[in-house]
Amino acid sequence: MNWEFIIKYLPLNRKAAWLTLRLGLLGIALSTLIGLFCAAVRYYRIPVLHPLVRVYIEISRNTPLLIQLFFIYYGLPKIGIPTDPASCGVAGLSFLGGSYMAEAFRSGLESVEAIQTESAYALGMSRFQTLRFIILPQAAAVSVPAFMANVIFLLKETSVFSAVSLMDLMFTAKDLIGLYYKTTERLFLLVAFYLVILLPVSLLGTVLERRLRYAGSGT
């Protein structure tokens, strides 16, 4: 292991790591919004939108991110939709993540039994009050593990960005492997960075899951 090399290229890596993280977080935020929207549409069975959302979820879940990115980055400009690597990465990640988040939120909503809603109605609560005080808090607690798993999954998927020539972690790794052939050092950095980013998220997920376990655990 050549530590000099590692120290020399650390700044370049830090920049790449930061870019990866930023695009990843942006993608996750958008995925969450798409997921909330789709979950609401499915939960309330909103006409017209309901079948459309199902089609979107099936397509998104049954195609790889890399293919989605290639289509967005190389295909879309041909029909007049310009894309740059960063927005392509965020768009792809959101397209992919939206369906995963939707399923996480929907299973949370559906875990709240209908009779809980009825008992809120019996107390005179309106639909909105029932949603706010009874359904959402319980659904959120149930959704947390799946949500955190999705966050980790999406952060991992950012490694695919390099394929559309993004200046991120993977790309610098591939680049440097080619340029200097310091394979061991480069791979070490790559593993270290993903561990630094993902381990805390994973731990946070475990902690949250444990703290929120009270909800839904028997009435």
């Binding site: 890399l66 295909g75 991992k156 695919v160 061991t184 791979l187 993902l198």
Partner: protein
Amino acid sequence: MPDLGLEVLLKGKNLVRLLGGLWTALRISLLSVAISLPVGVVLGVLMTRNNRFVKALLRLYLEFIRIMPQMVLLFIVYFGSTRAFGWDVSGETASVVVFTLWGAAEMSDLVRGALTSIPRHQYESAEALGMSRLQTSIFIIIPQTVRRLIPLSINLVTRMIKTTSLILMIGVVEVLKVSQQIIEANRMSSPNAAFGVYLSVFLLYFLACWPISLLAGRLEKKWS
């Protein structure tokens, strides 16, 4: 009607080549599944045993594989191991190794989850009927475990197929590589080929994964 670059697919053997590329990816994923299922079952059963050392070791393996992006794992095996051990690994071999390691880890966790989710009193009531441990396993535990496992392992197959798209990055000639070649070769005659070809690849992957997902969902509903 704008030029969508779809005509390229009908030219010569382009469509056949594209399907051939997809088959390379499918072959790798199916081979990896075939190896990782039995390995995963064994590891999963080991995880439910009470040996602390084995448990900790397997846990470490599982967590590392889970937390690393598959692309990083591919790089480690393809670039890293060749350098560290000096051998010459082909892209396809490296892919099978990575997907097997990954698949076995995921499978072992599914097996562990399915085994531990069987309530205690199932064992106890089998014992109360005078069954031996072997009989309990064969007639009571394994059938229930298998029902829980089949839909989940089918899902693992689709995840595997989707992830094989990454092998492009370590130089395996699969469907994306073939696409790039086709687009490059027809750059002059159909400048918009990238749209049509990548759209087709997108649909091909969907057609490969969707039926499998549907099957898994159907079985899950039926057996839950």
